[in-house]
Amino acid sequence: MEWANPLKNLVQKLLAPAFWLGVWQFCAFLVDRSVQGKGNELLLPYPATVWSALLEQAEQALFWQSILATLLRVVLGLVLGAALGAILSALTCLSSWCDRLLSPAIRVIRAAPVASFILLVILWTGRSNVPTVIAAMMVLPVVWDNLSQGIRATDPKLLELGRAYRFSRKKILTLIYLPSLRPYILSALTTGAGLAWKSGVAAEVLCLPRPALGTQIYNTKYLLEIPELFAWTAVTVALSLVLEALLRRAMARWRKGWGT
């Protein structure tokens, strides 16, 4: 008998997480056996221990405040980085002079180590702004690179049509460039969102603003609270995945109905 589709979908979606949870449980069991029950929580805690730590944290107001504060910093960084990346990609594609001037600087930002930037930005802006600035700096080159490729790949025949049919600049932007750039925007934003999370939380770990997920992760390391470290990491990953899913959904809605 065939399974009903929703049930089949649910099983398919849960299969991979269940498998990796099993792998984790098994590895934790091996560690537990090798240390003979003495301090396995410091090396690799069981999933159930991490779950308990997570529930314990969730009862405190600081947990939710940390999530909200980090979310705001990362989203703000993503928005700033995406906006700057989009403006710079337009400038470097429209003017060869801007391209010669700006492209090397953006490539330097992309290649430079995040840690160097974090330390410099702490000195320049103060610790509370660092995660946002760092997230923006990590997102900017990704968005710039993707959108530059997209702008250059826009169908020249459609652009010629716009010229021949006397489209205004606004129409050329909204009717030709933006729809053509959609896959590039999606790719830039999903990659950028992941980078913004990683770099934003890393910056929080180094500059310790309060409240913040990164600060909580630093405290767990300092106090050797490894189940809590796993719990905070799981929260960070979950938020990153939710943000990515929301972006994908928004982009899918934009495309809905094209019929292509």
Binding site: K157, L161, A164, R166, P179, G259, T260
Partner: protein, 180 residues
Amino acid sequence: MVLEDFSLTIPDHGIIALQGPSGCGKTTLMRLLSGLEHPQAGTLTDITSRQTALLFQDNRLLPWRTVSQQLTDVLPRSRWGEVPKLLELVELSGEEHAYPAHLSGGMRRRLALGRCLALEAKLYLLDEPFAGVDLPRALRVMERLRTWGAPILLVSHEPEILAKADVVLQLDGPPLHIIS
């Protein structure tokens, strides 16, 4: 050189059909008249390239716009009410909300034609407007174009379409020249 010592006088109204072998320079002539190509020498008199409307040989429809949006994109807001009339002209009534991907090849061609006719122009340049359109329908649309308010310069290879034109110019080239 695609065009050399080429002169063409276009009457105030009616359909002038151009017929000639592939590659003789018909499309280049259309592009020159529309201002997309610039001649090394020579001029357009009484009309500027901004007063022409060109139907490209390929449709160049925007895949993300519906049939009616393709027309409103080129019409000023004050003329949006003309969309049903234009769709009727190219026999696309009832397809207002369809996207190009959902239309047949002939329907897409007619939509591109309708969009070109939506432009306000003193001269319409139609490069193979009925390519892929079934002949009876093409002839009906052609009949309606005979009373269009501005002259139409049209490229076609179909004898039945050419027979509906007011003037047929036989061309050869390159360089492009009029045989008869």
